[in-house]
Symmetry: C2
Subunit: 218 residues, 2 copies
């Protein structure tokens, strides 16, 4: 088990995507184990007994969970190559602040595709407002941290794979609302680490349509 | 402004208490500015334009917000004295995981004092379950990280100042449910950094009673 790296994951999970991207940025080989969330594996329950959720990184038999904790662990463990967090403590605090903002806000996207009518309109407005805040922080920089792809980019870019489905569900265009943010996302997609880690947006859309049907039938 | 450290704060805030404790652990002098949350200062709105919330640490004119981000910033900036996070990346990931757990779960406490009847009973059960998970993680150790007071302790101990009020509101005893956790809290209270940063539990209770009246009148 010396340097074995395993990722317990589920393909449409933006949180799993974060970890895939971070591992690929570092050039770490890993064994990706797809979980069936309706029938979680004994390994998942053993490795994340508190939350019982994917993703879980298992490094030499030891588990790490919570995606942002995992990305920081990966950065600190395989630090030499492509550092994700800035070396300056103040810049590191800023990066952590924005990744935390992403964590707190982007889950609003769920309400955009799951709700209907007035609730959906309200969720859409709030979601767009958050994306605009993020676009404001990005400004004219290539990446959130400046010239180099880093921690905030890793935390946010996975949600790009859900954009198409949100736009289809709620009839709006994120590119019209936030052109710089979409240009940033397309820039990130040029990276092999990102392109290999994000699923096709149409596949995500079909998955979410099926999931919505199931949730609404319950 | 060279090394000026200012904390925009509000005394009953467990999140503010985290930052007070961390600064005091490091022996950093700071100017504590009490905010009136019904009439936020222009400085607060300028320093935390995204969330407009306390606490905010202003170090040499530069703001840091989100309490766990602040505690990590303090640890990295004044690192030499009383390190809060472990030096090993895996142990650091574990500490971040548990601080994140505290962040996600302890806000359940709000439902314990604010709700009534069946909703309150359900909130109480869930809250006790979370405390038991934390107690399980603590085990027989002196502190969450082992022998030394650290990051998880800083993230959790502020909520101890709310325990009395929760117990009074929902008629239960945390010491009966989680004796080791309460013994840990009393151990933490022996530290000057903690004792100076946590308000009196009866004062918190009176504050929460007043706040509840206001919220219920709305």
């Amino acid at each position: 088990m010396a340097e074995e790296v395993m990722l317990l994951d589920f393909w449409p999970s933006p949180f799993g995507m974060r970890v895939r991207i971070a591992l690929r940025e570092k050039g770490v080989d890993f064994d990706l184990r797809e979980e069936d969330l309706s029938n979680k594996s004994p390994l998942l329950l053993e490795m994340n007994p508190v939350h019982k959720q994917i993703p879980v990184l298992v490094h030499s038999g030891k588990p790490v969970s919570e995606s942002l904790v995992m990305v920081q662990y990966i950065d600190e463990t395989w630090g030499g190559r492509s550092p994700l967090l800035p070396s300056d403590p103040y810049e590191r605090a800023r990066a952590r602040f924005w990744a935390d903002y992403v964590d707190k806000k982007v889950r609003l996207g769920r309400m955009v595709w799951l709700s209907t009518g007035e609730a959906q309109e309200a969720a859409k407005e709030e979601y767009i407002e958050c994306l605009k805040v993020l676009e404001g922080e990005l400004g004219d920089k290539a990446y959130f941290g400046g010239e180099r792809f880093g921690y905030v980019d890793v935390s946010l870019i996975p949600f790009y794979s859900w954009f198409y489905s949100l736009e289809e569900s709620a009839n709006f265009s994120i590119a019209e609302e936030c052109p710089k943010l979409v240009a940033w996302a397309e820039r990130c997609m040029q990276r092999e680490s990102v392109a290999k880690s994000l699923p096709d947006q149409y596949k995500v859309h079909n998955f979410l349509l099926e999931l919505k049907k199931k949730l609404q039938a319950q």
